[in-house]
Symmetry: C2
Subunit: 210 residues, 2 copies
Amino acid sequence: MQVIVPFDGETPKTRLDPVLDRRERRQFARTMLEDVLGAIRSAGGSPLVLSTTSLDIPETPVCVDDRDLSVAVNAQLRAGPGEVAVVMADLPLVTAATLERLFEREGDVVIAYGIGGGTNALVSRHPAFRVDYHEGSYHDHLANAREVDAEVSVVDSYRLSHDIDEPNDLVDVLLYGDGAAATWLRQHGFSVSSDTGRSTIQRPDPQKVD
Amino acid sequence: MQVIVPFDGETPKTRLDPVLDRRERRQFARTMLEDVLGAIRSAGGSPLVLSTTSLDIPETPVCVDDRDLSVAVNAQLRAGPGEVAVVMADLPLVTAATLERLFEREGDVVIAYGIGGGTNALVSRHPAFRVDYHEGSYHDHLANAREVDAEVSVVDSYRLSHDIDEPNDLVDVLLYGDGAAATWLRQHGFSVSSDTGRSTIQRPDPQKVD
């Protein structure tokens, strides 16, 4: 399956600013992308990175499109084959097994729950389905699918639900991740603190420069 | 399948204190319990509420045990049939379909990922497996299972991962829930705000009294 992976090559993950400087955010975003691309390939998918800036990724096609995310993804949906997946680049917990569940689920449109109401991953097999990414886009995507009479399925996956936007999202990467992103965090001093009721992230000496 | 549902009947959900007073926390905890019990029954399970205080729940056996959570659950595991599930009472997003996936998954011990490293739901089919609930208990439960040579499976479910401890956890109940807990929140003035990068909870007039 062709799998579009949108990626902000310029200023990714700005909400991680409290714990990562600009250069670190770019590095970390690349490690998450690496994890996602690896999982896609292991699940038998063919990734196509849809980046806002030019980007060199070994053995991976990159399409540069600096338009709004939804406009760029919809252009790909229009041009793509009859079956296309869109998987966000900030899902470092995804595994091949997770994506196989997504890819194999029947339905004209298959959507995975995202924490906070977003749409982290979907499959479209309907020529008229279009995306509109924003907060709470999950419910709007369900509505969009119904509007074009597409049959919708929903995938219930923790690993697909957990996108990385804010510092505390990193906790679960350390707890459940074993890929490039988890390794990068450990190498950069992050660990899990369990002093309060729920685990939190800590970094003794952030050395933020930006 | 027998399904143990631990419940704190006295001071549940203290970390929701910023948005709910004590009486409201008790009410809300009961609505979440109601949702969980309904999903268990719809999935063909037989719930047994394991409460710290006496509690009247229609047509549901309640066992009162005010000892430490792990001690109380382990007593049930020892006394129970060869196959027992433990599902936390603060999972208002669980559905029958989610629990069917949990119950049907093969393995001597089946564990669902919990956000922040906890263990929100498990199935034990191994006589020597014991629980030890605490933050980050997921990894310790995996280790416990391996110690007694139990074969472990893991269930990847967003709906089982999302337990309700802190105010922002309520966002997803409003977004994805359609049971008693979501209804209770709406009736008590909660709604989803989408002003920032991620949806947050808001309540115009909390009228907290405690």
